[in-house]
């Protein structure tokens, strides 16, 4: 072998090896710095779940999960449009977060202890309190989940849904046959075609799927919820500055609803309000934003881009026909409770 041939080989080896290492080392640094230097928040979202994250007819991402991404971008980068939405399915979402392909996962993902403990990631809070339910054909004349013994059930793989499903049937001493397909569209298609008697997922997801049915009135969602499904944004472990910002953006949006600050009146309240708690939220008193490593206008920017939590809910979840229920503020007998911002 000649010397030049050897150098050529070395060069090729280097060309192969260097890019292979790059993604591993690039994501090791703090996420917040990376977001700021790129000027872009990469947000993992659902491939298309109405009300949570789905592209509209103009290709713009809408839904409460997508809105939360925009709120975080507005808080950190000052512009709700500086979000790169990365559609992920139930199977590749955690890998996308672990590998650094996305900075944050805002994709109707259930908060569980094992996901917090073993996936190298943590949940920042709960954006939506959900529960697993069942949808059946109205003509099947089924009223309660307890009547489902022996049914064929369509379910997506790798979800908490799949585990709850077998837990539920096991505990009730009932049997079922699963039909497991990963892609949401494929599983919905199989259910509408009649391959399964039952489709199961979070109740919000059932409502969204029902809207896609050839005739939505042919299907009913059973009243039983068989599990707790708190859905929330997920962050890689170790990025504590970023984690704190995401968590308090969520709380800020909830707190803003409690004090009646909306997209429309945020600027006005900032200029005029004498209420101490409102002043802290809009940044005219105290240094809440600076404490988070931001400026004091942080929450006003988020509110002006997506509105407070209530506005996000009405705009995105409202069309699905799901009542506020557990997602109402604590003072309205719901579960939405933000620790004080001060």
């Amino acid at each position: 072998m000649t010397k030049t041939a050897w150098f050529k080989r070395l060069a090729i080896a280097a060309a192969i090896a260097v890019p292979a290492m790059a993604p591993l080392s690039a994501s090791a640094g703090p996420t917040l710095d990376a977001i700021k230097s790129k000027g872009m928040l990469r947000c993992g979202v659902n491939t298309g779940l109405l009300g949570f994250s789905a592209p509209d007819s103009q290709g713009k991402w809408t839904g409460i999960d997508a809105d939360f991404c925009k709120a975080v971008a507005a808080v950190i980068l000052g512009d709700p449009n500086k979000v790169q939405f990365v559609p992920t399915n139930a199977q590749n979402r955690f890998t996308a977060l672990q590998s650094g392909e996305v900075d944050m996962l805002s994709r109707n993902t259930t908060w569980t202890s094992s996901r917090d403990a073993t996936l190298g990631s943590v949940f920042a809070g709960t954006l939506f309190y959900d529960g697993q339910g069942f949808m059946v054909k109205k003509s099947a004349n089924i009223k309660r989940a307890a009547q489902l013994n022996g049914a064929t059930v369509c379910v997506q793989p790798g979800t908490t849904t799949e585990l709850n499903l077998s837990d539920y049937f096991r505990s009730k001493k009932m049997t079922f046959k699963p039909v497991v397909i990963a892609e949401l569209n494929q599983i919905e298609q199989a259910f509408f075609a009649g391959r399964c008697d039952v489709y199961t997922t979070d109740i919000s997801g059932l409502a969204a799927t029902r809207l896609k049915a050839p005739n939505k009135d042919d299907y009913v969602v059973l009243p039983d919820a068989i599990s707790k499904e708190p859905l929330g944004p997920m962050i890689r472990r170790g990025d504590w500055e970023f984690f704190t910002i995401v968590r308090w953006t969520l709380f800020g949006l909830i707190e803003a609803e409690e004090y009646g600050i909306t997209a429309a009146n945020a600027d006005k309240l900032k200029a005029e309000s004498k209420e101490p708690q409102i002043q802290r939220l809009v940044g005219t008193s105290g240094d809440v934003g600076k404490g988070l490593g931001l400026d004091n206008d942080w929450l006003v920017r988020a509110l002006k881009s997506v509105g407070n939590y209530g506005e996000m809910y009405v705009r995105n979840i409202g069309p699905l026909g799901i009542e506020r229920g557990q997602n109402a503020l604590w003072k309205d007998d719901g579960l939405m409770y933000a620790p004080p911002i001060r």
């Binding site: 955690f94 190298g120 022996g150 979800t159 585990l163 497991v180 391959r195 170790g238």
Partner: protein, 380 residues
């Protein structure tokens, strides 16, 4: 010393090897380091934990409270069953189509060509969706199943058919059938050796048939000749009783066999064309019928050309069976995907997948190489 061509080339190769090993070591250690700093669990301990999810089709006993390892085995069995049956059917369909393409019957030859061109030029994934769509969209709902003779019910839920009720005579008949095949094969060997040694032709056809069919019937009759069948009955959501072949399995098996058959047909055709024309003409001159000519002269010689490319087709089929995941057949990949998601241990699950597919492929290769050695032209 460095002027020596040999020394230099050894040195360069050693350097290259060191480079490759170093790179591999770097990638592994970097991965482990990253996993550790992000506090992601590593290791295979998860395999003994409870899986917690159901699997629709299983050839070995499994329930949700069993371990991930067992779930993997269930998936592996599903993969092996569909791959083995797929190879069986693809070979039969492919051989028939390949021969048909060379037929002197114009219509038959053109139909066979059309089959090959359509099947091998449409992506397999699309074909699977079409098959699955046919079963789930076109067949009637389970309550309006198509009934065939009171023992077969066809619906969106698959093919449900009557099956002999559990009885020791039936399982004995099954074993007797397998024993019959082995004995028939041994008899065939004996007959051939006798012919070579003495020139005497022993009958092969009817003794084989008697062994393969007679033994199980005898076993069944001796043990009580049960005639009770487990007939499917509609109750609640679905039929109870009998056996069922799911639409997912049927769609996958049909898709894999018909797709691979198109490639096998071409391999067979090429193999037959590779046999010298004089061979066929000589056979004709000896007065062999067209069937005998194909069976005794052409195919045995074609086999030598056919086997190596056939091996690749079998390997493709076995690997393509992983597309099962798209239409919901619980093969190994489907189980691994679910496991990966429940445990977050993607690297381990992928490693298991790669190891298993590598083993399956290498086993097929080894078997085919052994067979190839057997039928190879022996020069005397």
């Amino acid at each position: 010393m460095f002027r020596s061509e040999r020394v230099r080339s050894i040195l360069y190769q050693a350097l290259l090897l060191a480079g490759v090993i170093g790179l591999g070591w770097y990638l592994v250690s970097n991965t482990l380091h990253n996993l550790e700093t992000r506090q992601i669990q590593v290791g295979f301990a998860f395999l003994s934990r409870e899986a917690g999810f159901e699997i629709a089709e299983k050839h070995i006993a499994y329930e949700a409270s069993d371990s991930y390892l067992r779930a993997f085995l269930v998936g592996l069995a599903n993969t092996l069953v569909v791959a083995a049956l797929g190879i069986f059917f693809a070979t039969i369909i492919g051989t028939l189509i390949g021969i048909a393409r060379l037929s002197s019957n114009w219509l038959l030859a053109k139909l066979a060509s059309a089959y090959v061109e359509v099947m091998r030029n449409v992506p397999l994934l699309l074909q699977l969706f079409v098959w699955y769509g046919i079963f789930t969209e076109l067949l009637p709902p389970v309550k309006e199943s198509i009934e065939v003779g009171g023992w077969l019910f066809v619906s969106q839920r698959g093919f449900r058919f009557a099956w002999p009720a559990e009885h020791v005579a039936w399982s004995a008949a099954g074993w007797a059938f397998l024993a019959g095949i082995v004995l028939a094969w041994l008899w065939r060997g004996h007959a051939r050796r006798t012919q070579i040694a003495t020139g005497r032709q022993l009958p092969v056809g009817w003794p084989s048939l008697a062994l393969v069919l007679g033994l199980p019937i005898a076993a069944w009759a001796v043990l009580g000749a049960p005639t009770q069948f487990d007939v499917p009955e509609l109750s609640g959501f679905d039929f109870q009783g009998g056996r069922v072949i799911s639409p997912e399995f049927t769609a996958l098996l049909l898709g894999l066999s018909t797709y691979t058959a198109a490639f096998i047909a071409e391999v067979v055709r090429a193999g037959i064309l590779a046999v010298d024309k004089g061979q066929g003409e000589a056979a004709m001159a000896l007065g062999l019928t067209p069937g005998q000519r194909l069976r005794l002269i052409t195919l045995p010689q074609a086999l030598r050309v056919i086997i190596p490319p056939m091996t690749s087709q079998y390997l493709n089929l076995a690997k393509n069976s992983s597309l099962a995941v798209a239409i919901g057949y619980p093969d190994l990949v489907a189980v691994a995907n679910t496991t990966m998601n429940q445990t977050g241990q993607a690297i381990e699950a992928i490693a298991i997948l790669m190891a298993v597919y590598l083993s399956i492929s290498l086993s097929i290769s080894l078997f085919m190489n052994w067979y190839n050695d057997r039928v190879r032209l022996v020069e005397r």
